[in-house]
């Protein structure tokens, strides 16, 4: 278990800059999500930490060791791949034991540690199966057991859950979190699924165009995005049009700022709300019922706003009619344009 320090790392592929002067620290034992759209450099950052790529400049430290010139074989990391990358020619036990055999661990200890790792992911009974005989979720657990069996200094996950269907994904998220806590390993994981990032991690880093836009605890990033991209990428943002700004109470107002609200901060009504709340007028486009929750799409001066609330909290509203959206002024997001 070690902390990972990435400092001023730049990585280029030909003329394209994949990582542009990236500095970020991954605390010991933390669960860190790297979040960004495709092409943002999140996978490149992960693979650079893993040692598949060597940066053009900058330093990477795992624990006390500078590793930016150490190849992946010697970095002592555990990695899980998007498609699990299990060896089809080996049994589950041999897959898990691969890293141990490479390290020439004595046979008895190898056997014990394979059993332990499989027990941790609750697959002890499938040790003799082939990967082709396993379900998606089971493969995923084997891949996880294989990645942690060598007690690596850091665990790297490359979109580990994206190949699973939704129900299984939620189960695996809980499972992954439990195992990570249990062994306390520094974990860095790449995802484009913001919900997954929020659920799993205790810190999030948002990337865009090879740069870290913002890094911090999920709640902080969600509540106080540093710019429009972060606000729009993690969670959804309803942007206030220029024309609607006069008359609203906007904390943090300054020149060149844009303002937004989160869909769940809004309430909707047919009449103008009382004093002390910010309100904008709009036209109800659609109301989508989804069981416990409902979503309303409202046209506010030409921009489409979204509201999410408990269905029972939304009053009966005439479709296509005028509505008011209101929110507490302190819930306003203010970001540099």
């Amino acid at each position: 278990m070690s902390r990972v320090d990435v400092a001023n790392v730049t990585k280029k592929f030909g003329h394209a800059t994949a990582l542009d002067d990236v500095s970020i620290t991954f605390e010991d034992g933390g669960f860190f999500a790297l979040l960004g759209p495709s092409g943002s450099g999140k996978t490149t950052l992960l693979r650079t930490i893993a040692g598949f790529y060597f940066p053009e400049s900058g330093t990477i430290r795992i624990g006390e060791q500078n590793v930016e010139k150490v190849p992946v074989e010697k970095r002592d990391i555990g990695m899980m791949f998007q498609n699990y990358a299990l060896f089809p020619n080996m049994t589950v036990a041999d897959n898990v034991g691969f890293g141990l055999r490479v390290r020439k661990v004595p046979a008895a200890e190898e056997k014990r540690r394979i059993a332990e790792a499989l027990e941790l992911v609750q697959l002890g009974h499938l040790a003799d199966r082939r990967p082709s005989q396993l379900s998606g979720g089971q493969r995923q657990r084997v891949a996880l057991a294989r990645a942690i069996v060598t007690n690596p200094r850091v665990l790297l996950l490359d979109e580990p859950l994206s190949a699973l269907d939704k129900t299984l994904r939620v189960d695996m998220q809980i499972e992954l979190k439990r195992i990570q806590r249990e062994i306390g390993i520094t974990t860095i994981f790449v995802t484009h699924d913001q919900e997954e990032a929020l659920t799993l991690s205790d810190r999030i880093g948002i990337l865009k165009d090879g740069r870290i836009v913002q890094a911090g605890p999920p709640r902080e990033v969600y509540d106080r995005p540093v710019d429009a991209f972060a606000a729009g990428f993690l969670g959804e943002a309803n942007w206030l049009p220029e024309a609607a700004l006069p008359g609203l109470a906007l904390p943090g107002a300054a020149a060149g700022r844009r303002f937004a609200t989160r869909p769940e901060m809004l309430s909707i009504s047919a009449q103008a709300p009382g004093e002390g709340r910010n309100a904008v007028k709009g036209r109800l486009l659609q109301r989508v019922f989804a069981g416990a929750m409902a979503t309303c799409l409202v046209d506010v001066a030409g921009t489409q706003w979204k509201l999410v609330a408990r269905d029972r909290d939304i009053p009966e509203l005439p479709g296509g009619g005028e509505v008011w959206l209101s929110w507490d002024p302190s819930d306003t997001l203010a970001v540099p344009a």
């Binding site: 893993a50 598949f52 190849p71 992946v72 074989e73 010697k74 002592d76 990391i77 555990g78 990695m79 791949f81 998007q82 498609n83 990358a85 060896f87 089809p88 020619n89 080996m90 691969f98 890293g99 490479v102 390290r103 294989r146 990645a147 060598t150 790297l156």
Partner: protein
């Protein structure tokens, strides 16, 4: 697959497959049957009116030790050529499939299959020009080295092996390349992340996973090389008498078709026996 078919489906299947069956019958089954028939004759019917049926042609193989010796020589040649094809072809395929990307891969691939595009006789005579005493190869070596070198490769077993390896190498490269290409690069990355060296990755992942392709290529080389006669005859000269050349002689020089046919079927039986003996290994490689 046959269980759930309705009669209509079965009829359609038969109609669709019939051209293939027809082709197999006309091009493979009939000639082979004719050959099998010839192999039991004393003489060809059109040459001798008093032809009869005999097992003598097969007995000839057993009584004259030359044929067995030549068959052993041919098998040794085939194993040698197959061995060299694997030793040279597999690394080539490995580099092509896993190290080289993009356009240079296509260019190299073209060069690999180029021998296929040239006429085999032209290819063999080119080798003769290269290998003969004072030939292209010898001159090149002497130009490079300060002392005098006599290679004299022409009309040796080495020349036969060189010619055959060159002719059949593409099979091993192509089949191995396809098998290696199918191995997900993530598997290699995963093994590396677990600390595996290049050799370990080759031994425990790439080789086992591409073994079916490699073995398919080896079989494709082995079978024709056992019966080869052109390369041995042209490049081997006096050393180039092999089982295949003897069969060829029976057909084109001695006009003893029945003996040639019998020798061919003995070869076929031996090759099938060897492949059958190897089949447990081949089958294990499939899983």
């Amino acid at each position: 697959m046959a269980d759930l078919e309705t009669p209509a489906e079965r009829r359609r299947l038969f109609t669709l497959l019939s051209p293939a069956y027809l082709w197999l019958t006309v091009a493979v089954f009939l000639p082979l049957s004719a050959m099998l028939f010839f192999s039991f004759l004393t003489d060809m019917p059109q040459d001798a009116p008093d032809w009869g049926v005999t097992l003598g042609n097969y007995a000839e193989f057993l009584t004259n030790p030359t044929y067995a010796t030549l068959l052993r020589k041919s098998l040794t040649l085939a194993f040698t050529v197959t061995g060299f094809c694997i030793l040279i072809g597999y690394p080539c395929a490995l580099v092509l499939a896993k190290s080289i990307k993009g356009r240079s891969r296509e260019a190299l691939f073209l060069m690999v299959i180029l021998p296929f595009w040239s006429n085999s006789l032209v290819r063999i005579f080119s080798w003769a020009i290269v290998l003969r005493g004072n030939g292209v190869l010898e001159r090149a070596v002497n130009w490079l080295l300060p002392f005098d070198v006599r290679l004299n490769l022409m009309f040796t077993t080495d020349a036969v092996v060189i010619g055959l390896v060159h002719s059949y190498l593409p099979y091993v490269i192509l089949t191995s390349y396809l098998a290696l290409q199918a191995v997900d690069d993530d598997l290699i990355d995963a093994a590396r992340s677990m600390g595996a060296s290049k050799l370990t990755i080759l031994r425990r992942i790439l080789l086992p996973l591409s073994l079916p392709g490699l073995l398919a290529g080896a079989v494709l080389v082995f079978v024709p090389v056992v019966g080869s006669f052109m390369e041995p005859r042209i490049l081997g000269g006096r050393m180039g008498t092999y089982y295949g050349t003897v069969i060829e002689d029976q057909f084109v020089a001695v006009y003893n078709w029945p003996l040639g046919a019998a020798l061919s079927f003995i070869l076929l039986a031996v090759v099938i026996a060897i492949l059958a003996a190897a089949s447990p290994v081949l089958k294990r490689a499939q899983t």
